[in-house]
């Protein structure tokens, strides 16, 4: 579903690459955590999938397509196949829950009938029945994130990208959000979630891709937030000492 072939992203020639020759593949229907410290390249990874940025070197495939080859007027079509959820929800404050979710369908030209039919269905999936007419500020943080998730999946994308979706939420609420994401994943959507939340990663036991300084440090199935076996990537041999000294 998502494949990176030796992808390098350099924002600024003077600093180290944000992503350094990364190769990995996430299959259809998979659930993968993207973990790593700030600046490790998680957000860059997500941006490249969305074609918000282009790779400096290497090829990014999304749903079998080389994104570099997608012309600018067809980028919207690519994005319709990808749902995105953010840490800060990004809801429209003056629109109701229903209108916020419906907005995603209106802008791509879905008919009123289909919107009326689909939105309540999706709100039910994320556990927000009966709150259609609330405004975002009348909802708790967890509920707002559910609205954001509903909006991200209402057009039935094949991929859901989540950028620290539980970053602003308490552990119990976070768990609820994870259940929603898991449900969406079990319905066949590929989920890639960038996170710092170790409890959640440990609880879910899904694939974990750990990035550090733009390289894949570890890629394990059914893994924990921190590695059970200490891994030292080949690149760090030798440079490890100097890296320590720099700290």
């Amino acid at each position: 579903m998502i494949r990176f072939d030796n992808v390098t992203k350099i924002y600024d020639q003077k600093t180290r690459p944000a992503l350094d020759s990364i190769s990995l593949e996430i299959d259809r229907g998979e659930f993968a955590f993207l973990v790593g410290a700030s600046g490790s390249g998680k957000s860059t990874f997500l941006r490249l999938v969305l074609k918000e940025d282009h790779a400096t070197r290497g090829v990014v495939y999304v749903a079998g397509q080389n994104v570099a080859k997608i012309s600018s007027w067809r980028v919207p079509k690519l994005r319709r196949g990808i749902g995105v959820v953010f840490q800060d929800f990004r809801l429209l404050p003056n629109k109701t829950v229903f209108a916020n979710v419906a907005f995603a369908m209106q802008v791509i030209g879905k008919s009123r009938g289909i919107i009326r039919e689909t939105v309540p269905e999706v709100l039910k999936t994320v556990g927000l029945e009966g709150k259609e007419n609330r405004l975002p500020h009348e909802l708790s943080g967890g509920e707002q994130q559910r609205v954001a998730i509903a909006r991200a999946v209402v057009n039935k994308p094949g991929i859901l990208l989540a950028d620290e979706p539980t970053g602003n939420l308490d552990p119990t609420t976070s768990l609820g959000i994870m259940k929603v994401l898991d449900k969406i994943n079990r319905n066949g959507t590929t989920v890639v979630m960038a996170t710092h939340d170790d409890d959640i990663v440990n609880e879910m036991r899904k694939r974990v891709i750990e990035l550090r300084n733009g390289v894949v440090l570890r890629d394990e199935a059914k893994a924990l937030y921190t590695s059970m076996i200490p891994v030292i990537p080949a690149a760090d041999f030798g440079s490890g000492l100097s890296a320590e000294a720099n700290k």
Partner: protein, 304 residues
């Protein structure tokens, strides 16, 4: 559905920055009014040219007591000299260029003078022998004025030959300058309008960045995201253009047609309805103005 959605977006956008929209309307209104005025002046010039060029004559003025020209050395024109001129006018060299000619005696000249300056105290002090008699020559082609001039300016008894067209040219050149000034002001105002539309669109895009950000993420097409902004500017500019057309029409109707045309009955003025042909031009100009400046702004501030 999408049409309804875009219309809703436009309505929201116009409501949100009413003051900016009003200023765009006013600036396009003023600038297009100047453009329209320049157009109207040009139409008036053409109208007058068409009307007067048919009527202009070449006047061959004869010598009077006070004449100083060398051809008048022998004093006022004699009957013999007059006869000579008449013969020349009917001669083979001149006749093909002349449609008709008439003699205006000093008494006729005084009569015309009195009519022309009816409201001026000067009429009471003018007598017939101060005004020159003249031959009024209508030409087949007024451009061939030189033929008359060459033939008669050296003829004894002729003081001077005057081409009335040249007097008109002076008037037209004044009107041309006025319309150039109007175009110049219009140009400045149009630059203002373009910058103001760009600023308005920028503000509008900024205040709706949340919406447009979400629209991008869920895969709205470029048209759906940008069209509301472009149309906002275009709607404001069209309103301005309509107001400008209305103003230009009102000036033509109430000032030119109802006032000037009544005051100066022997002058050809344009009618208010003739001015209406400027309207489509002003509308198109307004739309282009807003459309181009907003597209350029959006390319910079609203990446898709």
């Amino acid at each position: 559905m999408r049409v309804a959605f875009i219309l809703g977006e436009i309505g929201g956008g116009l409501r949100r920055n009413v003051s900016m929209v009003v200023s765009v309307i006013l600036v396009t209104f003023v600038s297009l009014t100047f453009v329209g005025t320049a157009g109207m002046l040009q139409m008036q010039i053409n109208q007058m040219k068409g009307y007067w060029y048919d009527k202009v004559q070449v006047a061959v003025f004869l010598c009077v007591d006070t004449s100083t020209s060398p051809t008048c050395a022998s004093g006022p024109a004699t009957d013999e000299q007059k006869k000579n001129i008449e013969t020349l006018l009917d001669s083979a060299a001149v006749k093909p260029y002349v449609t008709s000619w008439a003699y205006e005696s000093q008494a006729d000249a005084l009569k015309h003078f009195k009519e022309q300056f009816a409201n001026s105290p000067i009429v009471d002090s003018v007598t017939a022998d101060q005004l020159p008699a003249s031959f009024r020559v209508n030409m087949v082609n007024p451009e061939k004025y030189q033929i008359i001039n060459e033939t008669f300016s050296a003829t004894p008894g002729v003081e001077t030959v005057i081409d009335q067209r040249q007097l008109l040219e002076k008037l037209f050149s004044v009107m041309n300058i006025a319309s150039l000034v109007a175009v110049g002001i219009a140009g400045l105002m149009i630059i203002c309008a373009i910058l103001l539309i760009a600023t308005t669109i920028r503000l509008s895009a900024f205040s709706r960045r949340r919406e447009t950000g979400i629209m991008r993420l869920v895969g709205a097409s470029k048209a759906v995201i940008q069209l509301p902004f472009v149309l906002e500017g275009v709607i404001a500019a069209v309103i301005g253009a309509v107001l400008a057309s209305g103003t230009v029409w009102a000036v033509a109707k109430f000032f030119i047609q109802d006032y000037l045309a009544n005051q100066y009955k022997d002058t050809a003025f344009i009618s208010a309805n003739q001015v209406l042909i400027l309207t489509p031009g002003l509308l198109v100009l307004g739309i282009l103005l807003a459309g181009i400046s907003s597209l350029l702004t959006l390319r910079k501030y609203l990446k898709v």
